[in-house]
């Protein structure tokens, strides 16, 4: 009996020592009970120094776990992070529905403009379907240029598997040329440095030391797009990616690789100032190639000799244009303002008809999405431009307006 008492007492003392040791090693807990979940989480014990990720996702409301996953009550790093979604990036497309989805968040209906995840998953940026179809057609693996395969199976497209291709070139294509889509394994080099999924465009690229910037934004600068675009070319001759060899030192030369003509507005503005959300993120439908989804032309903003650009007057507080202007407030937009609109009905909410200039030849004011810079411009209509109304591709405008580099 006495022997047993000694053992029990010793074990209790040992347990007490263990508990006290663990408590000594545990930092002072910082708890948070987000409004959305009502469940306590201790992530801020270690991550209190992280900045708010965006105005739309305050930590007091969302907390961390609803987006990132992880063990809410753990304070030991490995355990706390063990069930995180997508590692440091919950917007990876393989987990994005669990992280960013929900009918009140980013996978709601098109009518509520919240179908972002469905649109992105079917976009060419995610499927890479156009490039896959064209290369398979070029090497005789399919009879036409219709998209049949995607990086991941989606909406009737089967997953592209290079190992099942007969042509060695297509196998090499699978190995060497799938580094641009939203789920891609990135090429090595800081110029290619970006996240995957939504954060490929909406979060700053990780720093060169591997640390990241905790931020989501719709003010997407051209440099973000350039982590994929304008970095070089894929060659079908050797089925390799060839990085651009010049080392541009200014925006004029950095913006586009030196193989094409372009106009001043094509480099003064950022990519997202011309290319719409449907072009960049998809519109929910599958397309065979980039040309099918990319529909913005010079005339979208500038009109033609015989017509002004399309405009639209905002009538209701619930309209998409006002939502977008709220998220990226580079413009003070209100009901009654007249903005430009694309032929597909997308509001160019950051380009407004200047009220004091409502006359025969109007003037428009564009606020750049990334910097908020205000730029005025006039339409082609009423000008001395020689542009023919039936010649509307950019190459015709470049004949007179291409900039020297």
């Amino acid at each position: 009996m006495r022997h047993q008492l000694v053992i029990v007492s010793f074990l209790l003392l040992l347990a007490a020592g263990y508990v006290l040791l663990k408590q000594a090693q545990t930092p002072e807990l910082t708890s948070l009970t987000p409004v959305l979940t009502g469940q306590v989480e201790y992530c801020l014990t270690c991550h209190a120094d992280l900045p708010e990720i965006s105005q739309s996702h305050p930590v007091e409301t969302f907390g961390c776990v609803i987006c990132h996953g992880g063990e809410a009550l753990a304070v030991e790093a490995d355990l706390a992070h063990s069930t995180m979604r997508g590692g440091a990036n919950p917007s990876e497309l393989s987990v994005v529905e669990a992280s960013c989805g929900g009918e009140q968040c980013h996978s709601g209906t098109p009518q509520m403009y919240r179908d972002h995840i469905q649109r992105v998953n079917t976009s060419l940026q995610a499927t890479y379907a156009g490039a896959i179809a064209q290369v398979r057609y070029a090497f005789g693996a399919q009879p036409d240029l219709i998209a049949r395969m995607s990086i991941n199976a989606v909406d009737g497209l089967v997953a592209f598997n290079p190992n099942q291709e007969v042509s060695p070139s297509l196998q090499a294509f699978g190995q060497n040329c799938l580094s641009c889509h939203l789920s891609a394994q990135l090429l090595i080099g800081s110029e290619y440095n970006r996240w995957g999924g939504c954060s490929a465009c909406h979060s700053p690229a990780p720093r060169e030391d591997g640390t990241s910037v905790h931020k989501l934004t719709t003010a997407v600068a051209y440099s973000q797009c350039n982590t994929c675009h304008n970095r070089g070319n894929y060659s079908l001759a050797d089925v390799q990616f060839h990085p651009r060899t010049d080392t541009p030192t200014d925006r004029l030369h950095d913006y586009y690789q030196p193989i094409a003509e372009f106009t001043r507005c094509e480099w003064t503005l950022d990519c997202v100032d011309c290319h719409t959300r449907q072009e960049a993120m998809g519109d929910g439908h599958l397309y065979n190639n980039k040309k099918e989804i990319q529909y913005i032309r010079c005339y979208t903003c500038h009109g033609t000799l015989d017509s002004l650009p399309l405009t639209y007057t905002i009538k209701d507080e619930d309209e998409l244009a006002l939502r977008l202007a709220f998220v990226n407030p580079v413009i003070d937009l209100n009901v009654g303002d007249t903005i430009l609109m694309t032929e597909k009905g997308e509001p160019l909410w950051y380009i407004r008809l200047m009220a004091e200039k409502v006359e025969a030849v109007p003037t428009y004011e564009l606020f750049t999405k990334a910097t908020g810079q205000s730029l005025g411009f006039k339409p082609v209509f009423g000008s001395t431009c020689q542009q023919q109304p039936d010649q509307q591709e950019a190459r015709y405008c470049h004949e007179c307006h291409a900039i020297e580099r």
Binding site: S9, L12, T33, V35, P58, T61, Q104, E317, D318, L322
Partner: protein, 126 residues
């Protein structure tokens, strides 16, 4: 001497273990909240109580408590010149809490409020 050491060890061990096992991560928020004397809320006033995330409106109809938690995703709405606005996603509400524009799809929640026998306003969250 040995008995005393054993008893002491056991008590220390049990005490620490009891504290460890009895750990409660977070107390539940109170179901009711004492907003203070009703005389602090004179007729015609609209007084915010930040710690309760509520605004108390004393109108001709009596006391009305509007939750300042946006019914869309739970951000705290801000009082503006003509009502309320959600800083997160842009929903706006009229001065009486009714929905002006989305993305919220409903008005601000009206919470139960009563005057106690001691003359204090009591807010009920549930």
């Amino acid at each position: 001497m040995l008995k005393g050491s054993l008893a002491g060890s056991a008590l220390i061990g049990l005490g620490v273990l009891g504290r460890f096992l009895g750990f409660q991560s977070e107390a539940n928020p109170p179901g009711q909240y004492d907003l203070g004397p009703s005389t602090d809320y004179p007729q015609g006033s609209r007084i915010q109580v930040p710690e309760a995330q509520v605004i108390v409106i004393h109108s001709d109809l009596g006391y009305i408590a509007l939750s300042l938690v946006c019914p869309h995703l739970g951000c705290e709405v801000q009082v503006t010149g003509d009502g309320f606005a959600c800083p997160c996603h842009g929903s706006r509400f009229q001065a009486d809490g009714s929905l002006h524009n989305g993305p919220a799809s409903s008005s601000l929640t009206s919470l139960r409020i009563e005057e106690s026998a001691e003359g204090h306003l009591i807010l009920y969250h549930q």
